[in-house]
């Protein structure tokens, strides 16, 4: 039997991954009111995500608002304290480093924010905004800071002589460039870009997307690219993860994810994107209508978190959480009945991995597989058919 190898390096590039996230969690406590504020519940914003980002590569993180994308980004930049899990950056787990221990990594991991208005201090000049990180981290001698600021402004396509202007004198797209110049100042190895173009007009979005691609190539920067715009993410990221209610439900290379999604949520999400090319056909595309709203992350559904809106849900979906199983060279999916639309079977593909029968009840003597939360892809994997074949005898018991 082929075994899953929990710590196999990512097969995405020949290189070691720059960032590996393992079973990362962030629960925000909900406090009771009154004098003694006890924790009465938790917002399970991010609940056990694993992925890796190759050096100089890009991983896209998509999903609808509230699914935990920003929280994931803020955990990696350590703006938030992780509740559990590892964040391995160049083989150091930075998840639990103290502020002081974290300092050398601060410059290596930078963030670009969605809102080019609120993320820049309106009372500081562009020179101060871009120059401050240079000074704080002693990147260049004091008398060279301004030269470097000018260089950075030039890199992002702004007039280098505008260093003494204020953010209010720039348009939205230009402000986003200032934010990018600030992030580049420290020559980071990883940029967490949280909805970097969502606030911009479409024509300006393209300018900023192209700029990000240029700086990525020129400086070999890896990106965690967070966005809800599926087309922009497909354009930017060779690899894409889909989140739902704090979990990754599917992760794959972009061709696989966009052309052959295996998770019902990914299928619904993609079918909902309006397509310009529809103009030549007329009418609306056939789409999967999801019923109801996303449930609260304070009290998420048992088993599969998508089951309250899933048209394929069975008993097992309420009892067992589907593990993120690798079913292709660069394809993992978390669904008991994963498959392309219209070709899903009646037998869960997860039975062997979980050691349960098709009702979701444990089978005596069967052990659940270990290491299913490893990031990246293994060169050894079982495709969906193999999972199915192995599952069937169990299902009969």
């Amino acid at each position: 039997m082929t075994e899953l190898r929990p710590h196999a390096p990512s097969t995405f590039t020949s290189e070691e991954p720059l960032l590996e996230v393992v079973n990362l969690k962030k629960w925000f406590p909900v406090k009771s009111s009154g004098l003694v504020r006890r924790t009465v519940a938790n917002v399970q914003a991010v609940d056990g995500v694993s992925f890796s980002v190759p050096r100089g590569g890009s991983l896209g993180l998509v999903g609808e608002s509230g699914c935990g994308k920003s929280t994931t980004g803020r955990l990696i930049t350590r703006l938030y304290e992780p509740t559990a899990g590892q964040i391995r950056f160049e083989d150091t787990d930075i998840a639990k480093l103290s502020k002081r221990e974290m300092l050398p990594y601060r410059s290596e991991i930078q963030m670009i924010f969605q809102d080019p208005y609120s993320s820049l201090n309106p009372r500081h000049t562009v020179g101060t905004i871009v120059g401050t990180p240079l000074r704080v981290h002693d990147m260049v001698p004091k008398d060279k800071v301004l030269d470097r600021v000018r260089e950075l402004l030039e890199v992002v396509g702004l007039n280098p002589e505008h260093y003494n202007r204020y953010p209010s004198e720039f348009s939205g797209g230009q402000r986003q460039r200032i934010g990018i110049a600030r992030a580049l100042a420290l020559q980071p190895k990883l940029l967490v870009a949280d909805e970097p173009v969502s606030a911009l007009d479409v024509s300006i979005q393209a300018q900023v997307v192209n700029l990000l691609q240029d700086v990525q190539r020129e400086f070999n920067i890896a990106f965690l690219f967070i966005a809800h715009d599926l087309a922009v993410v497909r354009h930017f990221c060779p690899e894409v993860a889909v989140m739902y209610l704090g979990k990754i439900v599917e992760i794959a290379d972009r061709e696989t994810l966009y052309s052959r999604p295996h998770h019902p949520y990914t299928q619904a999400l993609l079918s909902a994107v309006p397509d310009v090319k529809q103009a030549s056909v007329g009418g609306r595309r056939e789409r999967i209508m999801l019923q109801g709203d996303v449930p609260s992350p304070i009290n998420p559904p048992s088993g599969c978190r998508f089951r309250t809106r899933c048209w394929m849900a069975q008993d097992i979906c309420a009892k067992q959480e589907p593990p993120l199983l690798q079913i292709g060279p660069r394809h993992k999916v978390a669904c008991h009945f994963a498959g392309e639309r219209g070709s899903t079977g009646h037998v869960p593909i997860t039975l062997k991995a979980l050691g349960v029968n098709s009702h979701g009840d444990p089978v005596p003597g069967e052990e659940p597989m270990q290491g299913l939360d490893a990031p990246g892809y293994s060169p050894m994997f079982k495709d969906r058919e193999t999972h199915l074949r192995e599952s069937e005898p169990l299902a009969d018991r």
Binding site: S203, H228, H235, V276, A279, R287, L290
Partner: protein, 380 residues
């Protein structure tokens, strides 16, 4: 619980068959609309010489960058501009009645009855301190002689109709108790409570997730089919236009720069700004290695718009126009080369050829053949 009024509502209108009588004017006719705002910094030329019309049962999509005059022109249709701070000229006829210069009482009778508007931000239309149900009932009471009870029953039906689960239990909720998608539905319910003949949706789904957007767009289409209303949908998303609109109006710097039937305009566009919009968005369904082609620069200031063609500072094709026409002379909105009812504001002598041979091969090489085909069919 149903009252006669409720039964007469659009809930039962699905059975009716609408047949536009020949020769009748379109329900909305906007003619040479110009809107100016005098400000400390000067005169904001928000909308200039804008003309369009929408028939009942049809959807017009308006696209353009922010600040291009989409909202200002639509608000004029509802008579929402304060005459003391706005200079407005031209004509807007709704169901044959003139809106420009109409008094506030007439406008109030029109708003929320024959014409309704939904906004990007539902909280701007919903009062935080009143229940959703009371607000919808109030909008109904304003235009119908019914009891409060009947109005409330109507609110429940409307919420149910727009897909609020357990509407009867949620009708007394306050706006903050609804999710973003539900608030949007509640606002739509309120806008539709009096069976408007014209619905203006100003970026109704921009703030929403795609799955919720899909639900809202479906809802608008269902309601249109049942009730035969005219719809104007304002959006920056050409995908939404492609799937929803019968006709498109592309706006730039307060003017119409290209208009026409959706299929024609999106497959055979003839104005460089429209090309720019199409080439700056990535494709969700196709391979991804082609670089995006952004429109350089920023939209112009409407305090001091460029002379000549307003798009000229950003246009990559102006060197193909003889002389300095692009910088000195405003092009007229003239019939396009391909297709009936297709108009464009551009001096280029042969935009069709440029699009087919220069633009399309860059942005969608796989569509060149199809483009050629439509072109032949339409020009035959």
């Amino acid at each position: 619980m149903s009252s006669p009024h409720v039964n007469e509502g659009f809930l039962s209108a699905g059975q009716q068959v609408f047949q536009p009588s020949a020769g009748e004017d379109p329900f909305l006719v906007v003619d040479e609309l110009t809107v100016r705002f005098p400000t400390h910094d000067g005169l904001v030329q928000a909308v200039t010489d804008l003309s369009y019309s929408v028939e009942r049962g049809k959807t017009l999509g308006i696209v353009g960058e922010s600040g291009s005059g989409k909202s200002v022109s639509s608000m004029a249709v509802l008579g929402l501009h304060d005459p003391r701070s706005t200079r407005l000229s031209g004509s807007i006829r709704v169901g044959g009645r003139e809106i420009v210069g109409a008094d506030e009482d007439d406008l109030r009778r029109l708003r929320g009855k024959d014409v309704a508007m939904i906004f990007q931000d539902p909280l701007s239309a919903l009062h935080p301190f009143y229940s959703i149900g009371d607000q919808i009932a109030e909008a109904y009471l304003l235009h119908n002689k019914v009891s409060k009870r009947e109005a409330k029953a109507r609110a429940v039906e409307m919420l149910d109709r727009v897909g609020i689960p357990q509407a009867r239990n949620r009708v007394d909720d306050f706006p903050h108790q609804f999710s973003g998608g539900m608030r949007q539905r509640a606002m739509i319910a309120m806008a539709l409570v009096n069976d408007p003949k014209l619905l203006i949706a100003d970026e109704p789904t921009t703030a929403l997730d795609v799955t919720v957007q899909a639900q809202i767009l479906d809802l608008l289409q269902d309601l249109q089919r049942e009730f035969n209303s005219a719809i104007i949908i304002i959006t920056h998303d050409l995908g939404v236009i492609a799937e929803m609109a019968d006709d498109v109006l592309v706006m730039y710097a307060g003017r119409a720069v290209e208009t026409g039937p959706t299929k024609l305009l999106l497959t055979n566009p003839e104005m460089p700004y429209t090309w720019g919009l199409l080439s700056s968005v990535p494709d969700v369904t196709a391979s991804t290695d082609a670089r995006l082609i952004p429109i350089p620069g920023n939209p112009p200031s409407l305090l001091n718009p460029p002379s000549g063609c307003p798009f000229n500072p950003r246009c990559a094709h102006k060197d193909k126009v003889p002389g300095d026409l692009c910088t000195t002379t405003l092009p007229d909105l003239l019939p396009a080369q391909v297709g009936e009812d297709h108009r464009r504001r551009c001096h280029l002598p042969d935009p069709e050829v440029i699009y087919g041979t220069e633009v399309l091969p860059e942005i969608a090489p796989n569509l060149v053949e199809q483009h050629e085909q439509t072109r032949e069919e339409e020009t035959r």
